[in-house]
Symmetry: C2
């Protein structure tokens, strides 16, 4: 393989993936899942207007590399100007660009231990060093995160609010209060993927132009377009403009741009989905409690459920669920890995959950 | 902006874009183009089976991060194993990943002067140095490219066969012959975006597992799915596996995977498109010749037309075309920038071309 000379950094990286997709499990089982409740997808789906806009797209044309109409609409929706918005191939894609812009050889970032692994994947991938702070009572500990950032001279500090995988959410005002500890040289990367599932108090009460923060949003969750890969970042125009240096300009799918625009315009559908998410969370809580487990409060479209007996037991429960056709996931780091994580589902899917969870628990206990 | 500390490399990069999209021109004109013949899109569109597969996709689910079914089908189609194929967000996305894997701080690459600028964009973006070799009679000069690669110890040498922007194509066997000059430490990046538009002689007669070459293909051209962003790379399994280190695993759109699979399965449609491309090229040649210009031989879905009077004149012709509602582009480097570049169109669009080109020429001459 003499013709393939990877960089020293690339040579050092593992070729593992941050997440295994549900399809891989399905192929291994040679059977589809009966309930797909593991990837925090939105089973209620996108607005029918979005589906129609995508179906009517002329796929032979490249998408507008500026995503102009979508950015205009998002700017209007958020009361800002389009130069404060950059689109990307999901939040994952945008995190990659952001890390590439700011992190190289040994630069530090701070995140919570057990938070979104794809951020860490990008940081390691660009030669950065990930410093971790434990969760505080299953919530991101913003003061500790910011103090750690000062200690290690972090360029980025990552917070998801609401949090994934725990589903908990801080008040936006509490983050603002904690920002007195945010060092001058640290950018707050605020992942708001689940914001549309959360109560108003969760939003960060700071202007979107605040140069201390970049906010990441997506059409994958409440808008129901995970398969379409449409994320966006909002922040100070100088920061947003810098993405032009590195992004895949023609990377945005044409149909996805049309679909996201239509989804954004159908706020009535969004509200109906939000109501269904709340109902689904309540039902998941009820199902969990019935088995003696403890659901955590959630401001997202999923519920972390404390199985009550440590990580090995939670892993067993998860295994027994997946074996029985219910795809779920679980937090990866202690002590959050005492939980399983169940995405909101339709009433029919939650009927399956209600049926399978007690059986899986008995099987896990019998191990 | 104290919170935003870009890397030294990112700081040095311009925030310009490799290409301006046709939509930007349309917004500037406040009018849609009458004929969109500038981005080498496939106006004949994808297989209706692909369109249907995309319309029937459940967009709420993430796409399979392994693009398993599509890679299986491509492997079967190409007589190889799936571990020799990686999918990406168009060839642009894959070029970005490849460059990231292999190029850092001052590493060299070689390309033709005036070849695909997005490759150069990525190389510069990862801190590499682009060395250029002139075209030879409007064809890529493979021997010169490989010799230059030896001279500068290039890690990558980029060749598009068929070539963009000139439309010319080398025999695959001529590239193989020239590979005696390819240094042991240089990987040949063979961009075959237009291969399905070309005669059989253009294909590289080497096993796809040859570790000296990585081949880039796309569903954006002959398959008519530019808006869906589906590219793939084929090569030695060790090289292909390394993409797992850096790619955006959940970056592939779900509908696009389904659309590409359906498009691949409809080879009858592909053949009909190929016939229409040939007919369209012939018509463009005829239209060009009628005005006294010289169309270059093309193995692609576009024709480079020698305007016969240097770059300023070609630029004027292009300007007058765009002003009159016909979107075309032109090569950027001398002496290829004596040409304009016209993508294949429907008979109706080529009627517009036939009408507007002579008028644009008269206007350019009158300048």
């Amino acid at each position: 393989m003499t013709n393939i000379r990877l960089t020293t950094l690339a040579e050092s990286l593992p070729d593992t993936v941050p997440f295994v997709g549900p399809e891989a499990y399905e192929r291994a089982r040679a059977r589809l899942f009966d309930a797909r409740l593991g990837a925090n997808e939105n089973v209620f789906g996108p607005s029918p207007m979005a589906t129609r806009a995508m179906a009517e797209t002329q796929h032979w044309m490249y998408g507008d590399p500026e995503s102009f109409e979508l950015r205009e609409a998002l700017a209007y929706h958020n009361g800002i100007t389009p130069d404060m918005i950059v689109m990307g191939e999901g939040i994952d894609g945008l995190l990659g660009y952001l890390v590439r812009l700011m992190i190289s050889g040994g630069d530090s970032v701070v995140t919570s231990d057990g938070a979104y692994p794809t951020f860490n994947y990008h940081v390691t991938g660009f030669g950065g060093v990930v410093h971790k702070v434990p969760y505080d009572n299953d919530c991101e500990d913003v003061v500790a995160l910011f103090k750690k950032a000062a200690l290690v001279d972090a360029k980025l500090v990552y917070i998801a609010n609401p949090d994934n995988p725990m589903g908990t959410a801080l008040n936006g005002s509490d983050i603002v209060d904690a920002m007195q500890y945010l060092p001058k040289g640290t950018l707050l990367v605020l992942d708001e993927a689940y914001l549309e599932c959360a109560p108003q108090r969760v939003a960060l009460p700071l202007p979107l132009s605040d140069p201390r923060v970049i906010r990441l949003r997506t059409f994958s969750k409440a808008y129901g377009l995970a398969g379409a890969r449409v994320g966006y970042a909002m922040g100070h125009p100088d920061l947003i403009r810098s993405f032009e240096k590195v992004r895949n300009h023609f990377g945005m799918n044409r149909a996805s741009q049309a679909g996201a625009l239509a989804a954004l315009e159908d706020q009535t559908w969004l509200r109906s989905v939000q109501a269904r998410i709340v109902a689904s969370r309540n039902r998941i809580n009820e199902i969990a409690r019935k088995t003696g487990m403890t659901p955590l409060p959630s401001a997202t479209n999923f519920v972390a459920i404390d199985c009550g007996d440590g990580p090995d037991y939670a892993k067993s429960v998860l295994h027994e669920m997946v074996t029985r056709g219910v795809f779920i996931r679980m937090p990866l780091a202690a002590p959050q890995n005492r939980c399983i994580r169940v995405s909101c589902g339709t009433p029919a899917q939650l009927d399956i959950l209600a049926e399978v969870l007690p059986v899986a628990i008995r099987a896990a206990e019998a191990r």
